[in-house]
Symmetry: C3
Subunit: 350 residues, 3 copies
């Protein structure tokens, strides 16, 4: 679909510098856009790409406007504005309301007539599917699940019995919501299964990435609050609670009963232990090893980044020998008469 720059400026509240009648049809990158494209300049990206762009218009911050060689849509938040323009220019294809003949829908399920149930989907007993919900190809919706309006289960999603999905939530393929939490009681060298009788409550406007798993609670529910965005292959253990508008990048695992605050930003490949409390507005950078509660707001990191292997091997050896290095320094201090208090290794920079 073609939209004029003038219309974009009005719809998204931007100042337009350029011809309001110019039409655009799609988005593009600064480097590869053509004259039918809208591009955008993120705050830090390469100004050279901006100078060379052939896009019809660039969405950018006020400070960059003068450097723009083509039309510009000036926004204080170019990325968010660009996101909305993208949604307008690249609308999701409409899926017709109705139930595909190959789908298996229980007679006791309640499916809104405006919902789309795709081929080979299964809707089990007493499940509730709300208005305009998209149940994609081959999804499984088990007993007593509630899916609120405008939810999009893209394809191949498994919603286990009793879970609740809030309005407008989008779930990518391969996600499993409501598998059993990892509950086992040790008894004489073996493990007794602790049945998981809680559920999962996903709030509204949540997004969940491919192959992410969210377990049901042992007793009380596992909860993901509104506006949370989860990337791929994230694992949330039983009883975890993720606060509103928190984002978590891929491959991060959070152990059971940990509570994450609101508006947190958690990097990829983090491991967060169980029974912790992470405050609001906490930022954890990628590969973070979180084994204690963290107060918010704050920025936390861990890990030793990569280096050439031969240097790394020496680093590892040196870290292993730190114990003796501390001893050697203590002996030197003794010899020099600058010895510290025996028990004082200096302030604990934890």
């Amino acid at each position: 679909m073609a939209v004029s720059l003038g219309e974009l400026a009005v719809r998204f509240g931007c100042e337009l510098r350029g011809n309001p009648d110019t039409l655009v049809e799609r988005i593009g990158t600064l480097a590869n856009a053509d004259s039918h494209c809208v591009a955008y300049l993120s705050e830090s990206r390469n100004r050279r790409e901006l100078a060379a762009t052939r896009a019809a218009v660039v969405v950018l911050e006020p400070a960059a406007a003068d450097a723009c060689p083509t039309a510009s849509l000036i926004s204080k938040n170019p990325r968010a504005t660009f996101a909305r323009i993208t949604t307008l220019l690249h609308p999701r294809p409409d899926r017709p309301a109705g139930i595909h003949p190959s789908a298996i829908v229980s007679p006791t399920a309640l499916v809104d007539p405006s919902a789309h149930i795709g081929a080979l989907a299964v809707i089990a007993d007493r499940a509730v599917i709300g208005a305009r919900v998209h149940v994609g190809l081959r999804c499984v919706v088990e007993e007593d699940v509630v899916v609120e309006e405008d939810v999009n289960l893209v394809a191949s999603v498994t919603l286990c019995h009793g879970v609740k999905i809030g309005a407008r939530t989008i779930i990518q393929p391969g996600v499993v919501i409501g598998g059993d939490g990892f509950g086992f009681a040790p008894e004489q060298g073996k493990w007794v299964k602790v049945p998981q009788v809680g559920s999962v409550r996903i709030g509204c406007d949540v997004e969940i990435g491919a192959n992410t798993t969210i377990d049901r609670g042992a007793i009380e529910d596992t909860v993901v609050e509104e506006g949370v965005k989860l990337d791929n292959q994230i694992q949330l253990g039983h009883g975890v609670r993720v606060g509103a508008h928190t984002v978590i990048a891929g491959c991060t695992g959070i152990s059971g009963s940990t509570v994450i605050g609101k508006h947190c930003i958690i990097g990829g490949a983090c491991g967060i232990a169980g029974h912790l409390t992470i405050g609001d507005e906490v930022v954890i950078t990628g590969f973070g090893m979180v084994s204690r509660s963290l107060a918010g707001p704050g920025v936390y990191s861990s890990g030793l980044p990569i280096t050439e292997s031969k240097i790394w091997r020496r680093q590892v050896a040196r870290v292993r020998n730190l114990e003796s290095l501390f001893d050697r320094v203590k002996r030197l201090e003794g010899a020099a008469g600058t010895a510290q208090d025996e028990n004082d290794d200096g302030p604990d920079h934890t």
Copy 2:
């Protein structure tokens, strides 16, 4: 279902302090239980919650009995007793025996009449499905798979050709058992596929969490022994063997041909290299980087836990400069006449 405290005491071998005729219907947490609930006190949890609980009865250790404000079921292993009470009060819904009309079952498959084959499940040629097995919605059981009695494939499970699943094993959605192991031979800059002709043998009473993957062996089988409990998103490479009653927490990956002993406890987000031997009764804490064999019994850890980012950045810089710090200490020792042997950095605290 309602059960009396007296019956619970008799069934599970506990001393009851309280009215044996009191009825309970479900479980609850200490904090949120009501008068129809059974709760339990784990060894370390908050005694304040115990004092304030409104549960009908609390399962707890002898030492805690006097502090209990309500009826108590005294057990030396409260968590295991509570697990069994939970199973009694919250039984798994019965799935009727029989094959859903939409399931695809090969005429050469052997399906016990007491098994339940759910909607859109596929049972391929010569597969064997044992007594009272539950094949949940949309499971795939490929050729020549053997599923022993009372196994529960919750939903959306993929069992690749030839794998064997032991009795009473429970497999959560999204699990893939018997995908090809990662076998490739380098040849002039490219990689030649090594066909994986082994299989996978899962023992009895195993549990496997959502989206976990267990590859078939290159030649010999990948083996998970009886009583093992695997959490979500675990990866077991080809030829791995996991010893009986070992538990592994989520997101841990074990590379090919590694052998894990019995009764081990492996934390989440660990990476275990290939061709290693981990002994019996080894404990590996979360985020462990295991690149050598480990003798059991023993407790092993690695990693630098999270700290405030600005402190972390200095830590990283200091670790990078350890090489020169060792040199500086050596020079000081030379100047002080306390020099160590040139080759001696102190005992290797590996």
Copy 3:
């Protein structure tokens, strides 16, 4: 099927020491092979196993030939030769061409008559399935997907709309190709979805392991070049490009827009940040924390390997106290008159 050693020697260009008429039927390990088996000796494996083997023939390097107690096939690359022998002795079962009655195939899809579409697979509008493609049980092929000749979608694979899969590529169960990339624009504490309008292009002769996820690009495509081999549970973010013939081991995550060169070897459980460039012929060992671009060729590592927990706890405490140790050494140097430049902590061994 039985094949003679003479035929193997001719087919795979090996010198045979032994009776060319001896027949073999299958492969085996050195330790467990019988007289119908072919085994092989990898460069470093145990010569004791070779001495004791009962295999009919062993594939090995010239240097090991004299130590072989049975017939030998001498090859400069025993593993690759053994891979090819395995493919010959253990051919993949033929799946008959045609569409299973339970599969759902759109009338606008183009399915080559020689393709095999398995039970409960879904082929959506305008999808193209090439010659001899195997679409296994319960695969989902969304709209406008192109699957080139001889591709093998083993089972339970999800190919999202518009993705392209190159010839002879093999995709294990649970893989999701083309889920939305993780694109969100921050706006006043919430996150605005950035629609992902790019696609995914998988080259030819690629292999993708179970439950791996590859996201579509935000604007331009996510690309996996020819000959790449990906293990299980790998995550490729939107806009990632993986160069030809690179291999990546399990559970590694690569954030968006990162470019990986050709002929790289990336270990398991690595985390690679976004917007980086990894050069050609880079080796990254397992558990690597990659937060900067890496020049190739080169070998890179990070992480502190596992050690006994009580030693690890002291290591962690010592690393935390490095700041004060550097101060103490500086004071000693001041007292000894060997003080360094205030700003010089020694060469940066990054």
